[in-house]
């Protein structure tokens, strides 16, 4: 099912921020803002919930840590005990560097994959780009066109008045 979006394209980030502020002031919810580089303080205009990605990272890291410790214990105590310099088989201190690395590995990879999955960036699916300008030098505000209570004309005017270089509608 396709949805319609109204796009306001800006040359200047400050103009874009001022427009976003104005839209929020008149209680119009913004679908998303696309920028070529991170712009600080955008979150507050976007009504997006805080990301849950840190939770994924924490669980993945903890899983990596525990798995690595268990695996090393199994290898060096149960499956194939080797006497190394008279140290006990279960030498916890020696397990820590490996466990730390596996923790970082799990945490990093699973976070990246979780992010890609959640953003629907998987192979065989071509993602859609709202406006190619946002990948280069343009700042794009996208508003979802709803059937009721969406005054496209008024919003277009507002966007124009803040110096939007282009206002268009796009179906995705």
């Amino acid at each position: 099912m396709s949805k319609k979006y109204l796009l306001g394209v800006f040359h200047d980030e400050h103009d874009m921020i001022r427009a976003a502020q104005e839209l929020r002031k008149s209680d119009i919810s913004i679908f998303d803002i696309y920028t070529p580089f991170p712009v600080h303080g955008l979150d507050q205009y976007l009504e997006i919930k805080p990301t849950r990605l840190p939770v994924v990272t924490f669980i993945a890291g903890t899983a990596g840590l525990v798995l690595a410790l268990l695996f090393q214990y199994w290898v060096s105590v149960i499956d194939w005990p080797i006497n190394v310099g008279g140290k006990p088989f279960n030498s916890f201190a020696a397990f820590i560097p490996v466990a730390f690395e596996i923790m970082v590995l799990f945490g990093a990879f699973i976070t990246v994959f979780a992010f890609l999955l959640r953003s629907k960036l998987v192979p065989m699916f071509s993602g859609s780009i709202m406006h190619t300008g946002a990948t280069q030098d343009k700042f794009v505000i996208a508003l979802e066109v709803k059937d009721v209570s969406f005054d496209a004309q008024l919003i277009s005017k507002t966007l124009d008045s803040f110096g939007a270089s282009e206002v268009s509608v796009r179906e995705v």
Binding site: H40, G41, P54, K87, A93, I96
Partner: protein, 392 residues
């Protein structure tokens, strides 16, 4: 309010804390004289390090042109300003050198092959000279930094040039600081066990310096804001400091483990005796408590975003870290010295508490005196606007 006015009630508290410290020293002399020197060395070194953190942080941010410290740079200057005073009081340990340092006893050195070979370095005259050089250089660095910043305040049109000359000077300061701080920790703390050695020891004490310095900085910032000063500092700045704190507590744990793992793996008697002593005879409780207080608890607390943006949580975390860092130094200093004086049971009593309180009072008294000397806002710093506009 842009200038800090000295608070008389606060000064009274600090002076009574110093009184407690004297009481603690007297009590220790009465009950267990060796505790006097152990505690003075531990606590004085800790607060001297917190002062040195001011120099370190100012120098680093000068070199890289970091703007994020600009809003509270004056606190760092005041921290640096305490260095000459804490440095001067450090010389007290020369009086207790015979109690603290085994290598000062000629008869022990004569009968010990290892100590004989180290005698060219570990002897009291050379030790004192190194101490004078280290503390002298630190005091000089602190004075030069403060003087340069003062010039920047007085001559706004030359602010940029002064900042430029400061970044060059700071690079030199960093090298001097790195070498002297290593030498000082080797001399004052590592040589308490003259047979033992660890090449990473300077980095280890340095990691403690950054952690306890950051905790102190955050606590002072929270206190000043509660008194209505520094209103322009906001949660974004705390968030930044919280992240640094999280990073450096982990850095501390990393260095702690690096030292531990290598010694545990190699298992050479003269190296592993250090940890054998600390994992037995009642010291093991403090030994592990140190890691829990200095790293495990702060790390778990500071992981989420909101805790770094909550002053109350941050404040309590900093207290925990400071206790942990005190324990860190205490476990470095006390075990071997106490053992030499026939004390094998661990006893942390009111003496420890009182002497720590005394030095804290002394440190804070000097710190707030220094803080009241000039405006709290580094108005002519070329980084101030950028630092205030910080966003997370």
């Amino acid at each position: 309010m842009t200038t800090y006015k000295e608070n008389n009630n606060l000064n009274k508290i600090f002076i009574s804390m110093m009184g407690l410290g004297i009481l603690g020293i007297a009590g220790a002399f009465y009950f267990l004289p060796i505790k006097v020197w152990v505690n003075i060395l531990t606590v004085n070194f800790m607060f001297l390090s917190i002062g040195l953190f001011g120099i370190f942080m100012l120098a680093v941010t000068n070199i890289v042109g970091a703007a994020f410290v600009a809003p509270y740079r004056k606190i760092l200057e005041a921290l640096a300003g305490t260095v000459p005073y804490l440095g001067l009081s450090m010389f007290v340990i020369l009086l207790g050198a015979h109690s603290l340092y085994e290598w000062t006893h000629a008869d022990v050195v004569m009968n010990d092959k290892i100590l004989m070979s180290k005698a060219a370095y570990l002897n009291l005259p050379f030790f004192s000279v190194r101490m004078i050089i280290c503390i002298g250089l630190w005091s000089l660095m602190s004075m030069v930094l403060i003087k340069k910043f003062k010039e920047q305040e007085d001559f706004p049109d030359k602010a940029e040039d002064i900042q430029k000359s400061l970044s060059g000077l700071s690079a030199l300061f960093m090298i001097v600081f790195g070498v002297t701080y290593s030498v000082a920790s080797f001399d004052w703390i590592m040589s308490l066990e003259p047979h033992w050695f660890s090449t990473i020891f300077g980095v280890y004490t340095f990691s403690g310096l950054v952690v306890s310095g950051l905790a102190t900085l955050i606590l002072v910032l929270i206190y000043l804001q509660s008194q209505g000063y520094m209103e322009e500092v906001n949660l974004n700045h705390y968030h930044d400091l919280g992240k640094l704190l999280l990073g450096f507590t982990t850095f501390w744990a990393y260095i702690w483990f690096s030292q531990y793992l290598l010694i545990w793996y190699a298992n050479i008697p003269e190296e592993s005796e250090y940890y054998v002593l600390r994992e037995h005879y009642g010291w093991n409780l403090l030994f592990w408590a140190n890691i829990i207080l200095s790293w495990a608890i702060p790390f778990m607390i500071l992981l989420p975003r909101w805790t770094k943006r909550n002053k109350k949580v941050l404040q309590w975390t900093c207290y925990i870290i400071l206790v942990g860092q005190w324990l860190n130094l205490y476990v470095m200093v006390a075990p071997k010295v106490m053992e030499h004086h026939g004390v094998t049971n661990v006893s942390i009593t009111w003496v420890e508490l009182f002497i720590a309180a005394g030095y804290a009072g002394f440190f804070l008294f000097v710190f707030f005196k220094k803080l009241s000397k000039s405006s709290l806002v580094a108005e002519n710093s070329p980084f101030l606007a950028e630092g205030l506009a910080l966003e997370q």
